[in-house]
């Protein structure tokens, strides 16, 4: 009896040891990759630290005040929101629409799934180069369409009014298939007898069924897609770096691009740290919603 208790205590001790040993590498990396850098970032944002500068001064909140008054940074916020304002509703509605249409297809469903998902796995840098070629006002095949529509030559990527919508269209091209797959999973989870019950209740026609059954039951999926799409859109960087470098005349400078320029091209680290924290503030509300939604999703 006593021996058994001793063994149990020993086992408990070993298991406790295992817990610490198993968590140790993750804890160490968590400190090195998240905790220490984020603390350092906050400290840097309060200084005028520059790579290679002789001395560093403590500035308090001056960087933040400067950022909020900086026309370049303010423009990048406006540009990013303009991009999100297209990609968010477009990505959710097109993803939902495609899923609703594909869901009813039996033989062709997997063909559409593959085609729509293809852009998700492709390397955006390479495909952005292809889009640039496609949209070239003189050389690209899209020119034929704009000419046929009587629009003449359209400078999609060098017209300040068109550059954000064009980048957003490329972003949508990559995103829609991903959202469609998420919506398809949501649609498959709706029990068929709910539609039968709705029909008995007098729901007639596709729109009625959609409003009474599909839309309410897709709620969690829609919320999840909305949140992930917002985060993806806020982080737009690759297409800007490759296709426009913020141009023409700053018309496509977005948040991450300005942060990258300030931090890693001009090496104004303190200022870039403050911009990064402002970026985090924008994205944090969405990230927290995403974490909550993830928690619900992976329970099953």
């Amino acid at each position: 009896m006593r021996a058994a208790a001793a063994t149990a205590r020993l086992d408990a001790g070993l298991i406790l040891g295992a817990g610490h040993a198993f968590a140790a590498p993750a804890t160490l990396l968590l400190l090195l990759i998240y905790v220490v850098p984020v603390v350092a970032l906050v400290w840097l944002s309060l200084t005028d630290y520059e790579l290679g500068a002789v001395e560093t001064r403590f500035l308090g909140l001056e960087n933040f005040a400067r950022a909020l008054a900086d026309p370049v940074f303010r423009r990048s916020i406006a540009n990013t929101f303009a991009y999100v304002a297209i990609v968010l509703p477009g990505g959710v509605l097109l993803g939902l629409g495609a899923a609703l249409l594909v869901h009813g297809r039996i033989r062709s469903r997997s063909v559409y799934e593959v085609i729509y998902f293809l852009p998700v796995t492709s390397t955006l840098i390479a495909m952005a180069t292809v889009w640039q070629f496609l949209l070239h006002p003189r050389l690209g095949p899209v020119r034929e369409i704009t000419l046929a529509l009587g629009l003449g030559e359209v400078a999609f990527l060098s017209d300040p009014a068109l550059v954000i919508p064009t980048l957003a269209a490329i972003g949508l091209w990559q995103l829609v298939g991903f959202n469609m797959i998420l919506f398809l999973a949501g649609l498959s989870a709706i029990p068929a007898d709910l539609y039968e019950a709705a029909a008995l209740d007098g729901a007639s026609g596709g729109i009625d069924r959609f409003l009474r059954v599909t839309w309410p039951l897709l709620g969690p999926t829609t919320m999840f897609v909305t949140v992930t799409t917002s985060i993806t859109a806020f982080k737009v960087f690759d297409t800007v770096r490759v296709l426009t470098e913020g141009g023409p005349a700053g018309a496509s400078e977005v948040l991450l691009y300005v942060i990258w320029l300030e931090g890693f091209q001009y090496f104004r680290i303190g200022y870039a740290a403050a911009l990064t924290l402002i970026f985090l503030a924008f994205i944090l509300a969405f990230s927290i919603l995403q974490a909550v939604a993830l928690d619900r999703r992976v329970h099953y």
Partner: protein, 273 residues
């Protein structure tokens, strides 16, 4: 009745086919152009002369495209291996073992989920620069060695693993190490493979971090390599440029076509790409 079914079907297929055409257009144009001689690049959708060999040879000769792919393989494999080795035991500890600091660790994992890599990027860059590690594979991989998402996902799976089996294994004299790797992890294989796909796709395609820590062409992963190659071509030789884009895009697209069920299940399970 029959007529309305047909109309409904056409009404569904028409927008879907139109969307599919938009989705496929860049791929078709890319491959088509990569086969064309320079003077026929702008000639509609036909293919009169085949210049594929010359274009691909030029692309592979101008930029070390195969080297970029090798770099991509090294970086993705290194990241994934460490992610799994770190996250699986940590997730098991969080799901099944009690130890001091467990709830704090979990709180930090959840907090980490809310912080994209662009946030710690500046201090990480400074640290790697001070350690003299810029322009190394390690610098490209280090920030991703810990995947808080993997810990989070695996913890959910491990929690549903029956405690009776773990207890029985302990009574049989199995250590915790053996329990994790012989019983618990294999049972979560769907989650592990879904995460692996997510990880490889994300890091194969990542531009932001390599752009910061890599300046040497020979270390560039595929997206950064594509950027170099694109700048070197300066837009004059579209055939070769598209051949390069095809080579860079092909591995993941082919992997997806081969294992499309797994890719799609992976997205459905994790909700992330």
């Amino acid at each position: 009745m029959r007529g309305s079914v047909t109309v409904g079907r056409v009404a569904a297929h028409l927008p879907l086919a139109l969307g599919a055409a938009v989705m496929l257009l860049p791929f078709v144009w890319m491959v088509l152009t990569s086969f064309r001689p320079a003077d026929a690049v702008f000639a509609g959708f036909g293919l009169s002369t085949f210049a594929g060999l010359a274009n691909y040879a030029h692309a592979l000769g101008t930029a070390p495209l195969l080297r970029f792919m090798l770099n991509g393989v090294i970086v993705c494999a290194g990241i994934l291996a460490v992610q799994l080795l770190v996250a699986i035991p940590a997730a098991y500890a969080l799901a099944k073992l009690s130890f001091r600091g467990r709830s704090l660790l979990f709180a930090l994992v959840v907090a980490g989920l809310c912080i994209p890599i662009q946030v710690p990027a500046l201090p990480l860059y400074l640290g790697l620069a001070r350690a003299g590690l810029l322009d190394t594979y390690l610098a490209m991989m280090f920030p991703f060695f810990l995947s808080v998402f993997a810990i989070f996902l695996f913890r959910q799976f491990f929690k549903s693993f029956p405690d009776e089996i773990i207890q029985a294994a302990r009574l049989d004299g199995a250590g915790e190490f053996e329990i994790v790797w012989r019983f618990v992890a294999p049972a979560a294989l769907p989650a592990i493979s879904a995460f692996s796909i997510f990880s490889v796709v994300a890091h194969w395609n990542d531009l932001y971090w390599p752009l910061i820590v890599i300046t040497e062409t020979r270390l560039a992963p595929p997206p950064l390599g594509m950027l170099y190659f694109r700048d070197a071509e300066t837009g004059s030789n579209y055939g070769a440029l598209m051949a390069g884009a095809t080579v860079i895009t092909a591995p993941l697209v082919l992997a997806f076509l081969v294992a499309r069920r797994r890719f799609i299940q992976g997205v459905t399970m994790t909700g992330l790409k």
